[in-house]
Symmetry: C2
Subunit: 193 residues, 2 copies
């Protein structure tokens, strides 16, 4: 994909400054991959070795419970990262699935390469620390709105984080992200108009 | 408190190895503080500048909603960290409260000192990156069990994480952590015996 390096460079540059040579070096550890709409990237039970930076398209990270009900942990739009981080960090088998809501282009970074880059370049370690700090805070906020059973708040947060989502994603998936029924989603959606 | 330096040293050494001089240097940035049972450390609305490493006692991080209902995000036992991380990382005012369930001894680290240490010592940056990685995964697991409405699973996770909790913490607080009523907690508790 044209511009892949520029997209990840711009993303990293929001947190740290690297030289052009350092960007080239960092970028050389990423693998470009293309997926079709509906294609699985991680399936529950897999060994997980990579995390994925989205260049184009939209992924979802989701969990299927024993009753086959789907819960969406995350949508990943361009410049977002996705993986099963529990599996990635611990070496356990995946419990989360990641697949493509649309055709997608991603950059794939292996755990070994992430650790190598963090060890070789202190600024890259800083970048990944702050990326996870932000992810941690976002997960805590989402947890609180689930504890508080506040679907309206979750809906507003979702619109704020992903303003373009309504045109890209079926309403059934948005309901699965919010943890509400399609009917409740329709009520929230009407209120917003 | 005697042994404060040994406790944090042992905690950090699980992730990285520092020299004795580096431990001394890192430790010199922590401030020892003592709190009484019930005392507030962070109150919603505060400016948050520190995170807290528990040496002794038990803290809780909690949110109070508009109906004055309490939701417990986290218990912090010895060697756990607590703060309002959204406020700490973003500079926003606190929305989370942190107070003491028992008398407590903590080590307090300011944001400025954390960033200084991370910048000066690459291994400290590594330590904090992995601490947050683990926190992120724990928050995601907890989120999934809330989405899945699986109080039994949350109860079992809680017992696994904090086996000594039942002797330290009133049942009403455990219910506020699980997001269930006291009656539901009693049922889960009976089943376990």
């Amino acid at each position: 994909m044209t511009g892949a390096k520029e997209i990840i460079k711009e993303h990293i540059a929001k947190t740290v400054t690297l030289t052009d040579e350092q960007y080239d070096y960092v970028f050389s550890h990423f693998k470009l991959k293309s997926y079709k709409k509906g294609q699985a990237i991680i399936t529950a039970g897999d060994q997980v070795d990579c995390e994925y930076f989205v260049l184009d398209g939209c992924l979802k990270a989701f969990y299927i419970n024993d009753d086959l009900k789907m819960f969406i942990l995350q949508f990943a739009m361009p410049t977002w990262w996705a993986s099963d981080y529990n599996a990635l960090y611990s070496g356990a088998k995946a419990t989360i699935n990641v697949d493509c809501i649309t055709d997608a282009e991603v950059l794939c970074l292996s755990s070994a390469d992430r650790e190598k880059l963090c060890s070789e370049l202190h600024q890259v370690e800083y970048f990944f620390r702050w990326r996870t700090n932000k992810g941690y805070v976002a997960a805590q906020k989402r947890l609180l709105s689930f504890m508080n059973n506040d679907a309206k708040h979750r809906y507003e947060e979702l619109l704020k984080m992903y303003p373009q989502l309504y045109n890209m994603v079926p309403k059934s998936l948005i309901a699965a992200y919010l943890g509400v029924s399609r009917e409740t989603l329709s009520r929230l959606y009407q209120r917003e108009k």
